[in-house]
């Protein structure tokens, strides 16, 4: 076992353990924090696997933005601070399907790779990944940027308070025209 293996094993254990706690805890806010631990461990694994850019992007976006958003949502939906009892649905279908999926996948992968060893490739630096993205994967990149724009617009539209109110309450004149930059409806 090389050092990389040891590191991977340890970080993997942390990730899986934190994951167990994310799906198992009765404290809503702690679930979010356990998710941070899990994602951080994963970032470490990426580093060991020489995927540097991915690791830093993981920390930046996942841990930095996504989890923050999740915690914001937890707070905005007035989650109780202490333990809650009604967080879970019946466990047997979840265990069945989740266990089946996870263990099945693990079995397949173990069967495929056994205890073989591979050489670690060249590091995935920003320069090398950028070279790949803007040469071979530029079209998906552009499509993704359009997708992000769509998601942005969609999130704004979905957040409007008029959705669901009866039509009499919707007054186009009360639209905040200055927030839209003077666009009329």
């Amino acid at each position: 076992m090389t050092g990389a293996d040891v590191l991977l094993l340890g970080l993997g254990a942390v990730a899986v353990g934190a994951g167990v706690l994310v799906v198992g805890t009765r404290h809503l806010v702690r679930a979010g924090l356990y998710l941070v631990v899990c994602l951080g461990a994963l970032a470490g694994m990426y580093l060991v696997l020489t995927a540097e850019l991915v690791a830093w992007v993981q920390v930046l976006i996942y841990v930095g933005a996504v989890v923050v958003l999740l915690l914001f949502a937890v707070m905005l939906t007035r989650a109780p601070i202490g333990p809650s009892d009604d967080l879970d649905r019946p466990g047997w279908p979840a265990a069945l399907i989740g266990g089946g999926a996870g263990l099945g996948l693990a079995a397949v992968l173990v069967d495929a790779y056994r205890w073989t060893a591979v050489e670690l490739p060249a590091a995935g630096t920003a320069e090398r990944l950028g070279d790949q993205i803007f040469r071979s994967w530029v079209l998906p990149f552009e499509v993704l940027s359009v997708l992000l724009l769509a998601a942005l617009v969609g999130a704004i539209v979905l957040s409007r308070p008029e959705i669901g109110r009866p039509a009499t309450d919707r007054n186009p004149a009360r639209r905040v025209a200055d927030a839209e930059g003077g666009r009329s409806r």
Binding site: M1, A4, D5, L9, G12, A15, V16, G19, V22, V23, L28, L42, M45, Y46, L49, A51, V54, V57, Q58, I61, V66, L69, L70, F72, A73, T77, R78, D86, L87, A94, I97, G98, G99, G100, A101, G102, L103, A106, L109, V110, Y113, R114, W115, T116, V118, E119, L120, P121, G124, R128, L129, Q132, A151, L152, G154, I156, L158, S159, G164, R165
Partner: protein, 124 residues
């Protein structure tokens, strides 16, 4: 480096994510479980980069980046929906969303007993 270690980790994380999606009642926790699943997939992609000699180098890592972008977009829209649902129903329990078209909303019978915060009793 033994690739089976990160692979098995990813498999277990995926299974945990599935478990979480099916087990949790709070919509935000369901989204957290979905994030677990997405991260498991990312790990597999990055590990595959080391085990598979692809024609395009670092293809797995590039895809992992794309998945991260997608996950960010998805969480943005998803949480907007969850917040709007909370505004209408004062609850984000996924099994309390009424599906029948003309039955009156059961918003009054929320488990938390919170009053409808500015939400209306309009039809879905």
């Amino acid at each position: 480096m033994r690739p089976v270690i990160p692979y098995v980790t990813a498999a277990l994380l995926f299974g945990l994510g599935v478990y979480g999606v099916l087990r949790r009642r709070n919509a935000v926790l369901v989204l957290m479980a979905v994030e677990l699943m997405l991260n498991a997939v990312n790990l597999i992609l990055v590990t595959a980069d080391t085990t598979v000699r692809a024609q395009l180098p670092h293809g797995g890592q590039v895809f992992a980046l794309f998945v991260i972008v997608l996950a960010a977009a998805e969480i943005g829209v998803g949480l907007a929906i969850v917040l709007q649902l909370y505004r209408l129903r004062a609850t984000v329990a996924v099994d309390e969303v009424p599906l029948a078209e003309r039955s009156p909303a059961s918003a009054a019978a929320t488990s938390t007993g919170a009053a409808a915060a500015g939400g209306t009793e309009g039809a879905r």
